[in-house]
Symmetry: C2
């Protein structure tokens, strides 16, 4: 029922600084970035094989991710598995009396279904389950095209690279979007 590790989420205080390690030094590529309003975070996806490293940068200081960062410091936040049938997986976990954060899937951006398993149910790991819906790949492609346009349209942004792009994105969001 588990297809793969979808992503490993890593909490970072600043996206531009994090890019200095994950992209510039380690050599991963940035495929996708967005602001997830209901979680109050900027999210950047860096593919590694069939999975992603997902960088989470809290924007809203009252968000769960911001509280996590304050309490535990930067580092790994959760593992997300892609499953083929999230309802069946949740039923299976309930049958094993595993403590869930979401008893039913919630609908995320793009219509994808997600649910979290409580760390108390897994032995200390926050686990996300994720069922990809048909709309998600198209939505990501659109976002990527938009991001690439932003990266290449402004000569200044293009010239100063990814770090500066993120600095600009951070401070310029309200003006740009």
């Amino acid at each position: 029922m588990i297809k793969k590790i979808s992503h490993i989420a890593v909490v970072v205080p600043k996206l531009d600084k994090a890019m200095g390690f994950w992209v510039e030094a380690l050599g991963l590529e940035l495929s996708h970035v967005e602001y997830v309003e209901d979680q109050g975070v900027d999210v950047a996806f860096l593919p590694a094989g069939e999975s992603d490293i997902e960088l989470l940068r809290p924007v809203d200081e009252t968000s769960g991710v911001a509280r996590y960062l304050e309490k535990r410091g930067p580092g790994m936040h959760h593992i997300c598995f892609e499953v083929d049938d999230i309802e069946a997986m949740l039923a299976r976990l309930k049958a094993h009396n595993i403590l869930l954060i979401n008893e039913e899937p919630t609908i995320g951006t793009g219509g994808k279904k997600i649910a979290f398993i409580h760390p108390k149910g897994t032995g200390g790991v926050l686990v996300e389950l994720y069922e990809l819906t048909t709309g998600e790949p198209a939505r990501r492609r659109e976002r990527l095209i938009a991001m690439r346009q932003r990266l290449t349209e402004g000569r200044r942004i293009y010239a100063t690279g990814v770090r500066a792009f993120f600095s600009g994105l951070r401070y310029g969001r309200n003006g740009d979007e």
Copy 2:
């Protein structure tokens, strides 16, 4: 240069209890288990797509993993990336002034080359790099065959399942190996 996420390591106090979540409830399969003497840990591999969840159970109470467990509690410990050329990757990281735990690769079991990047160099994540050598797949196959024989040879072990097998492995190692 990064081929994929090789594994996500999770520290657990007891392997048999951890199997209750990862195998019995979540439905992952156990592919491989071994005692890694120089790290003082039992290691169990549970494939998820092209990657593994690697459960680490400290045996030696003075090991780094045991100290981690005492300090931070059970949970995610490190991310390991498979790379095609570990020496080239380490040279690249040094060129970016990333703090390394191993400046040169160390040779692990089966001849594989491994090196750790310090969490201070990555923004809070312990990152392992791993270059698969030709001997490793054959070594794993041999280990798996031996484990399966142990799982199926004893009627008692077969009848009482994976959890009991691990309890037995834990207490019976010195007698068995």
